[in-house]
């Protein structure tokens, strides 16, 4: 048994034990320990990540003449560690007081833990897949496990979103299956390497269909445009830590498969040769543009949300665009930035979701118009959210900045001004909406009903703080992550990035985060010296002692600004939110339901004879057509 086999044995035992344990307390401790053990196992396998090795599992299945097997590459390891660490944080978060409250409100805690471990297991199976068949099976597991997580909330919107997700997932699976069939038809095998051979033999038109089928399958999972509609609501309407887990990593499985199938085996160079229309528009740039639009449109939808969870979930959709955009640049720093953004996004997104869940735990609402001023009551949660939003907005010194910097740098080097502007537009929209998030929750006037709110207990605080430490450390020393990225690039055939502990070495303008953060903190230090030593003593005052044009403020006066936070901007771009994608979705749904109704009525109709006649006529006509064609 090699390390990978041991790892999977542990994962399987973890699944069984969590499913069997009925005692809530034991269950939560045990499940957290299992995740810790998984992290340890992954750490023992870290040679995969540092030396670009591959570990192949001894276990394989012969099925209908196919050999299915599982293996761990640097890419699988990278995604696995993110998955397991996010699961660890979520599990730890829900193991204490949050779980208690969840059960008091009628939630099934055991089922939530089970859903979490099922998600982890299915993702690990997918990530370890060694050929297309195991990939497809893992893919299905992941889809249904996410569905289980989504239906846990009793609300009607959650159910609706989950059903919508399943429909999307089935469409994606169909597309994937069709692509698999194309591979099988051309080579008679479902090995990954057969993708390359099958692709080369195809005609141009078939190539487009082939790539698009794969891409649709994966894009649906990742929520890329135009399949972005299902994700945000479905993730937001999940019980707290579940949302954090799904938001952090679940949809990145789509990116993993894109990396394996499209980047590694079809090859970005091949995509570049597939001209679509003009010399500028080929398959690769089409995908890059899809990525760029994915950063913009969902981000500005997020800006409109007034529910904290939905806002974050929409940003999760938007940030996916950066990852794909970086990878589609097909150079060392761009793809490194895109890959690194997976980890960075997972870390701050999980932290941010957990802070929102913590706020909901204390106040009972995530409606941004019903909160405010909580910073004095929950200062540590505020700190975590601050670190998280700096990461999400991509400002130094947090890790989001490093990966976005690399994507920008690559867009600059490749001379892509419009994509660059699109990426920056996404970032600016993010800054606007994260400020709205932190302002409406933690800053401004404290509401009377929240004056007794306290900081959340340590069982919830520790995972949040841990994640924010990751956000900071990987931003301060990106060189800790970059070796993994470099081995991934080596594995999947991308140019390999040159790095050092502080960041990127690059001719004509690199990045050294140790210096950059150092200077930033030096600046803050000097600023603090100026502030605390040169100025006099300041008196802390109550919020009601405030300038209101001479008006006397008291608890009866609401003196807070939160609703419709950006009226000027919305006045201008509000008209652009036409919901064309929703409209498109509705059109497809109604067309399909119309057709299905039609057939249903035909089958049910009282004149089977007419049906028979109709079928006979069609059959006769086609036979006639066939023969006359052959005759001439």
């Amino acid at each position: 048994m090699n390390l990978l086999d041991q790892f999977f044995v542990i994962v399987a035992v973890a699944l069984i034990s969590i499913a069997m344990l009925r005692n809530i307390k034991v269950n939560s401790i045990v499940s957290t320990l299992w995740y810790v053990l998984m992290v340890v196992m992954l750490a023992r396998m870290s040679s995969v990540a540092y030396n670009a090795d591959t570990i192949t599992s001894a276990f394989s299945i012969e099925l209908l003449g196919f050999r299915m097997y599982w293996k761990f590459t640097a890419l699988s390891w990278f995604f696995s560690i993110i998955t397991v660490v996010s699961a660890l944080a979520s599990s730890l978060f829900m193991s204490g007081d949050w779980g208690k409250q969840y059960r008091q409100q009628g939630g099934n805690y055991g089922l939530l833990q089970l859903a979490l471990i099922l998600n982890v297991v299915s993702m690990l199976i997918l990530l370890a897949s060694g050929d297309l068949l195991s990939l497809f099976i893992g893919w299905e597991f992941v889809s249904w496990a996410s569905f289980l997580m989504m239906v846990l909330m009793p609300s009607k919107t959650a159910k609706k979103a989950a059903v919508k997700y399943v429909i999307y997932a089935i469409v994606g699976a169909m597309a994937l299956l069709a692509a698999l069939a194309m591979v099988y038809a051309s080579s008679g095998s479902l090995d990954f390497t057969q993708i390359t051979d099958a692709f080369i033999q195809m005609t141009d038109n078939m190539k487009f269909g082939f790539v698009l089928l794969f891409f649709i399958g994966f894009a649906i999972k990742m929520g890329l445009l135009p399949f972005h509609l299902w994700q945000a609501v479905a993730y937001a309407e999940t019980p707290g830590p579940g949302a954090a887990f799904l938001g952090a990593i679940s949809s990145r499985m789509g990116l993993f498969t894109i990396l394996v199938v499209i980047v590694q085996f079809i090859g970005l160079g091949n995509l570049e040769e597939m001209n679509i229309a003009l010399p500028y528009l080929n398959m690769k740039s089409l995908l890059a543009w899809i990525a760029a639009l994915t950063t913009i449109i969902p981000t500005y939808i997020a800006l409109q949300q007034h529910d904290a969870k939905r806002l974050l979930a929409w940003h999760g959709v938007g940030q996916g665009g950066y990852m794909l955009l970086g990878i589609m640049m097909y150079d060392s720093i761009g793809s490194a930035g895109g890959l690194m953004h997976v980890l960075n996004h997972a870390s701050y997104q999980a932290a941010l979701f957990l802070t929102v869940v913590a706020v909901v735990y204390r106040t009972g609402t995530s409606d941004l118009n019903k909160l405010g001023g909580l910073v004095t009551q929950m200062p540590l949660t505020f700190l975590v959210m601050l670190i998280g939003i700096i990461g999400l907005a991509g400002l130094p010194p947090m890790n989001g900045f490093v990966s976005k910097w690399m994507v920008y740098r690559s867009l600059l080097v490749n001379g892509e001004p419009l994509l660059f502007v699109a990426a920056v537009l996404g970032t600016l929209g993010t800054i606007l909406s994260v400020y709205k998030l932190i302002h409406n929750t933690f800053l401004g006037q404290l509401r009377v009903e929240h004056q007794q709110v306290r900081e959340v207990p340590w069982s919830m605080m520790v995972p949040m703080l841990g994640l924010s430490v990751i956000v900071f450390i990987t931003g301060f020393m990106p060189g800790l992550i970059l070796p993994w990225i470099a081995s991934i690039q080596e594995t999947i055939g991308l140019p390999v990035v040159t790095y050092h502990l502080g960041g990127i070495e690059y001719a004509k303008g690199g990045l050294d985060m140790i210096w950059v953060s150092g200077i930033l903190f030096y600046g803050f230090g000097v600023g603090a010296l100026i502030f605390y030593f040169l100025g006099g003593k300041a008196k802390r005052i109550h919020q009601y002692d405030n300038y209101a044009g001479g008006h006397f403020l008291s608890s009866e006066v609401k003196y807070h600004y939160s609703n419709n936070f950006y009226p000027g901007l919305m006045h201008l771009i509000g008209n652009w939110y036409r919901g064309s994608f929703k409209w498109m979705e509705n059109v497809i749904v109604s067309a399909l339901s119309f057709v299905s109704k039609l057939f249903e009525n035909m089958y049910r109709s009282r004149q089977p004879v007419m049906l028979l006649v109709l079928v006979a006529v069609v059959a006769l006509f086609s036979i006639y057509k066939n023969y006359s064609g052959a005759g001439s």
């Binding site: 600046g523 603090a528 300041a538």
Partner: protein, 295 residues
């Protein structure tokens, strides 16, 4: 770079920025006075203001985040000045480059936004909402300009850009459209009329500054000096060939800052949506034309 050199640059670069920035503030106030046919403030007025504000006997704080906000606002700029190369001192400009610098410049705004947020004054929050919207508006042309410059000089390091210009021709000659668009964006970046809706004293009581007293206000005054200096030197480095010596750089920087100031005091202000509309239309158009020429 030796240790002593680094330490001296860490101290000197922000200090010079502060002193030059004070003179720019004076120039700004003098320009406005002269345009309104007044005499204007005495020479040391910016210093008097700042010393007075820091020397206030009492001042109010709305809490820790209010304090930290001001520290971040001033500290972020102090850090940014070290990323901005000037004659004889390169600081750590080669470790970050222009992208890092332009993101660094958002940190003071974020700090101020946090501090203002804790003040729990809706006037302040409205001001921040408008300021961020304005940032969204002026950063689009600005980022195209940055892209164009980086592409043209084949470098994202400001040192490389300055070297290129000193070896060849100034950016403003080779990229006139981008230079004009950059100037337009600068006007928004400095928050001067007609783009000062987020201050709007008579309407939202100076927006972000509404609850700032004593050293808090003093911090914002210090931040303003850095802001003017950064804008002037950054633009001079991007388009006017930087400077081989201070005598070369300073006139350029002062000239750059003087242009928006002279325009500013002749205009009333735009509404937020009009501000976005105008900044997304004309400078972006100019910048894209400029970009088409150099690509």
């Amino acid at each position: 770079m030796s240790f002593v050199e680094i330490i001296s640059e860490l101290v000197l670069m922000p200090l010079i920025a502060f002193v030059v920035g004070l003179m720019m503030v004076l120039m700004m106030r003098k320009i406005s006075a002269r345009l309104q046919r007044r005499i204007g403030p005495p020479f040391f007025q910016p210093i008097y203001d700042i010393v007075k504000l820091y020397g206030k006997d009492t001042q109010v704080s709305h809490g820790l985040i209010h304090d930290i906000g001001i520290v971040m606002a001033v500290g972020g700029y102090i850090g940014a000045e070290i990323l901005l190369p000037v004659p004889g001192m390169e600081g750590i400009a080669d470790k970050g480059g222009i992208i890092t610098l332009s993101y660094f410049l958002m940190i003071p705004s974020l700090g101020m936004a946090l501090g203002v947020g804790q003040c729990a004054n809706p006037n302040g929050s409205i001001g921040i909402s408008r300021a961020l919207t304005a940032m969204l508006a002026y950063d689009i042309p600005f980022i195209i300009v940055v892209f164009g410059a980086a592409w043209h000089y084949e470098s994202t390091s400001l040192i490389g850009m300055i070297e290129y210009q000193q070896a060849n021709a100034w950016g403003i000659i080779e990229m006139p459209f981008l230079a004009i668009a950059g100037l337009f964006a600068l006007q928004g970046m400095l928050g001067k009329q007609p783009f000062e809706i987020y201050i709007a004293p008579a309407e939202i009581a100076t927006g972000p500054m509404v609850e700032m007293s004593g050293k808090y206000m003093g911090g914002l005054f210090v931040m303003q000096t850095f802001q003017l200096y950064t804008a002037g030197v950054l633009y001079a480095s991007l388009f006017l060939g930087g400077g081989e010596s201070w005598l070369d750089l300073l006139p350029k920087a002062f000239l750059v800052v003087a242009i928006p100031m002279s325009i500013a005091f002749l205009f009333p202000r735009y509404k937020t949506e009009d501000l976005i509309r105008i900044l997304w239309k004309w400078p972006v158009m100019l910048a894209l034309i400029g970009l088409a020429f150099i690509l």
